[in-house]
Symmetry: D2
């Protein structure tokens, strides 16, 4: 299943070291001006090699749109697009032919399909998220026209957490810091921690918080297509994402109902969603990212029979995925919201 969405749908394809990554965006409303610079900008925010905190792999990620846009506007027909894979060092990966890297998808792909493209993680590579950035950027072109704005930021790295709510942050600062955290002190601490972890050849995870403003009430389907369930599925489709909560979330677990209820009109502990449907207030949620499994140091491994060996990853890898995951979280959010926005047009007589 490589399609996401019901009305506004992304179908994705591509392996890390195949000729290209790409996708088809179906259900894009017609008549939208296509701001190519904006879309490429979003791709650049995801791209490796942006700062010392990210892998030094150089990927141009030049987008080629193959259909669905005519004289600068969307036509309502599907938007096919590709991004060529250029900086492929397949030789780096030849040794993976016979190895299942710890906590990677190598073993599960092999079990599921009986065959796998082992180069650079193949289909399981985070490079696939390029397609979400593109589809998300197209979605944002529509959402902007409806006054809906999406902003995500790194809210925790390891045990360094932004300890104020998003309402006390200036989210326009997010991209000013390499870790994409708009809290200057925490951003500096996170950066220091990531450099330390990197120096140890290790990795670290954390959370991204995402905030949607301007979303009208009434989006989301009440039972199986709850807005937060779709957001969760969207987040957990991103590589290394292992958790999701919204509103008060896990942090409010010790609170009583009398503390979590939104009794005053200005309250929004429910995260902008009630019964699976948007309330018209800000939507906010968190996505948990585990530390990436690729370590740039030797790991001792034991197999089913208890035999011990060692494995050392090669290639160029991020010590912390969070900074680059911020635009992916925003993109997936945009896809979910546009889908819900279009579907909501069919609710009433």
């Amino acid at each position: 299943m490589n399609t996401f969405g019901q009305i506004f749908r992304l179908t994705s394809f591509g392996e890390s070291h195949g000729p290209a990554i790409g996708g088809v965006i179906d259900g894009m409303p017609a008549g939208v001006e296509v701001d190519l610079r904006f879309i490429q900008q979003q791709l650049n925010r995801r791209r490796p090699g942006q700062s010392a905190l990210t892998t030094s792999r150089k990927e141009d990620d030049a987008l080629e749109i193959l259909s669905g846009v005519f004289e600068g506007k969307t036509t309502g027909t599907p938007i096919g697009f590709i991004v060529r894979n250029t900086d492929q060092r397949s030789a780096d990966y030849e040794e993976l032919r016979h190895i299942f890297r710890p906590s990677h998808a190598d073993f599960t792909y092999q079990e599921k399909y009986g065959i796998r493209d082992f180069r650079g993680g193949g289909r399981a590579s985070a490079r696939e998220t390029i397609t979400r950035i593109v589809a998300g950027a197209f979605a944002m072109l529509v959402l902007r026209q409806h006054g809906i704005n999406i902003q995500a930021y790194t809210s925790q790295v390891g045990n360094i957490a932004v300890d104020v709510p998003y309402t006390e942050l200036d989210l326009t600062l997010t991209d000013a810091y390499p870790v994409r955290c708009p809290h200057p002190t925490r951003a500096a601490e996170m950066e220091t921690l990531i450099r330390k972890v990197q120096a140890e050849g290790d990795t670290i995870g954390g959370t991204i918080t995402c905030v949607v403003t301007g979303c009208p009430a009434g989006l989301g389907e009440p039972v199986f297509g709850k807005l937060h369930a779709n957001l969760a599925a969207a987040m957990l489709s991103i590589n290394a994402c292992h958790g999701f909560d919204y509103g008060a979330g896990f942090e409010g677990i010790a609170q009583r109902g009398s503390q979590q209820n939104d009794t005053h009109y200005t309250d929004n502990r429910s995260g902008g969603i009630l019964g699976g449907i948007s309330t018209g207030k800000d939507i906010y949620f968190r996505a948990l990212f585990k530390p990436v499994a690729t370590l740039l140091r030797e790991q001792t491994i034991t197999d089913e029979e208890g035999r011990t060996t060692t494995f050392t990853a090669r290639g160029r890898h991020d010590p912390c995925v969070l900074p680059r995951a911020v635009p992916i979280v925003e993109a997936m959010t945009a896809i979910v919201l546009l889908d819900a926005l279009l579907l909501a047009r069919t609710n009433k007589l």
Copy 2:
């Protein structure tokens, strides 16, 4: 969207105070012996009025199967079923016609549809989960034959958490305690806490942990139908569920990659899923439930214009949904797993 699943699909219908709740189970494999006692037993585990900890509403929840079963076996055709709503005190709810209860879906349904069945929460009532119990029980009939077993338990209520991993618990004890926690000491503490909260007319949330044993490797679609993304969507479709994590999850946020990687064959910090596909080891995850919004005490409410009023819920309600949510978590897990199991039959030549 009231349908869940791709191959094995539940379509659900029904309001709390309409004539019946029901559904259609499509894609059920043919030739499965239908153990009606087992299915009714699962319904009884969800039913209110089981213990002093749950609402005293009496609901018989008598299942009527209308199709798809012939001479005691499934036929491969859709299984239609209903459960009549009998103990309806609609008069309890008449006052809700003009009120949006705090942190309920009343407002959002009204915004979305311009009309709502306000009696007992209407479609947003947890009574709808009856349909998941039924579909889940049918799924379990198949999963059992494949040696797949699902066990959930209350792992945290408020700040009382089971502080040992599931591997150190005897999960067969879960139903022996009213809170459905198999850890005797914690179970007692949770029960005490819930009674205290109940006495205050308040409510409390917590987490349910779910464990799947015997699941073969290879289930789950790698990109948009990741097994954990489907599990998350399933959990977050349950009323009051606000969060999900699996494997090390939020609790492992401060750990490094070197601590979370499964380097030894017996390790399973990844929760039985890698790259969205089951590994063959135990799958385990948590669902977060917030305190239910219906309080049996007066709440002071302010509206958009800052006007103050009060609201006191009537009816019979649970101070803590977790005990009754345990079988629902198991049922939704079964639905996701059977769907993945059937889909995996199409993976290879």
Copy 3:
């Protein structure tokens, strides 16, 4: 797959001799007044025993709506409904346990599922079409508000064909004749033919023509959801329907492009659809129904090994399905059109 439609969806269940036939209508717009008399009227048009031309089985087909309607209006939530099976003479069918009736689905169900409910055709019974009538009637409640009108009629029985285009007929007369043909002379001839065939214990097929007026331009998806492709799939989902054409169709096979092109604005040889999208003119198409396979006379049968035996159907059966299929054709058309109408709301910015 027992669900039809993308936005407006019918999920159907039920066997001929189970407790009930029913379904779930999902995606019904909220706020529509539910004209129960109209819906029951449509059911009555399908019901057996209406005239001497149809089976004498007495089926009440009393509709019970279980959800999705509140205070006389649709609420946007799914509409669950059932029609009890009352006049079941299961004993009539016991002999079918070990017999595959010629040209029936007995054999194929057995092959597919390894088990079948053999009573009255089980799931393959035309009684399942009750669910389409109900969903179609709900769809019509919306379509009427948009000025869209659907009228079908029997246009051919055996070799007796209405030899004038629909534009020369008074379609309000359709139900005035037992065969549901608005052409008085042809109606009489058809009736005579059906009686003759019936007297011989034989059956006969023909065509139903369906005309949609008032349909706006722009409905239908251009590539895989072409309006005519969806109509064809809808028609061919009806029991005994073996063919479909629209516009000039099979009858225009000898014509040149210069004869079929709509060069004058008033032309409509293309049947109201171009490139899969409605033009705003009348949509018209034909559905071919083969003679039903159940003959009320002895048939000589040979099996795989060439062994000869005989088979005589019992029960009460129609010699010609066309009159009762007219409302089913209309209902399926309504389902397709409402789905397309709702989807078209998402086409533009």
Copy 4:
């Protein structure tokens, strides 16, 4: 909706005069050897310029596979592919900016989307069918392994019909004749007719018959996913296809049930499908193609206000689509059958 299929799915994109036509094949079983020569061969059978009977446009239709194939085998991941549009003479089409060609989709796209790519028909161009050929060829790679074979041929052009059943034809001869009719005499007559029509700047339609041998019993879903309904939807998704029938079809309309019933084991008047499920016998059906709307001569047109003008198509066009549609019919049939074959794996315990 640019996706077709439930398990084996083709998502298509591309306009006639955009950079490329392409698609994504999802659900392709893993481990299938990819015979690139065979796939390109199928593309060549569809390609224009094959004979004097088809347009002289030169299109290379060189397939580029971008993902899902590794070391010569399918991996189970989605197969992205493109075919570049090379021989684009956009200037030929500039005049279409303000014209709605008679019986083309120009008007309906404009109405639906408020914008259209008018060059060469844009998305409505038959060039889109390239994607079906590719997906169909992949499907055939699997079907061949199951002994399922698909052969289509031109069975009627204008009033020249092959007047013997397919069982009396040598279907291996089909490609030996430019019209793709395996009946030598009829093939010659058809060819003569097409040349005559072409000389007049006119066009002609007809039927293609398709035969599937080796299909096992049990494929197809009994109610809404009937095998013949899916085949019909597949055929009617092909440009210019206006009708479908199977088994005895429209030609058997005057027959009685006693004539159409398959009472002897060797009978197959039902076209290999009963109750929507394959019987294990040959499946055969017809697709009706109307004369293409593009005439290479002047047409007099009147508009809504009765104003008269003329229109003369330019460019290079086929006088009869049937010969080139034969491989498209086969490809769409293969897509439907593989989808049904995979889905049938989930039917039983």
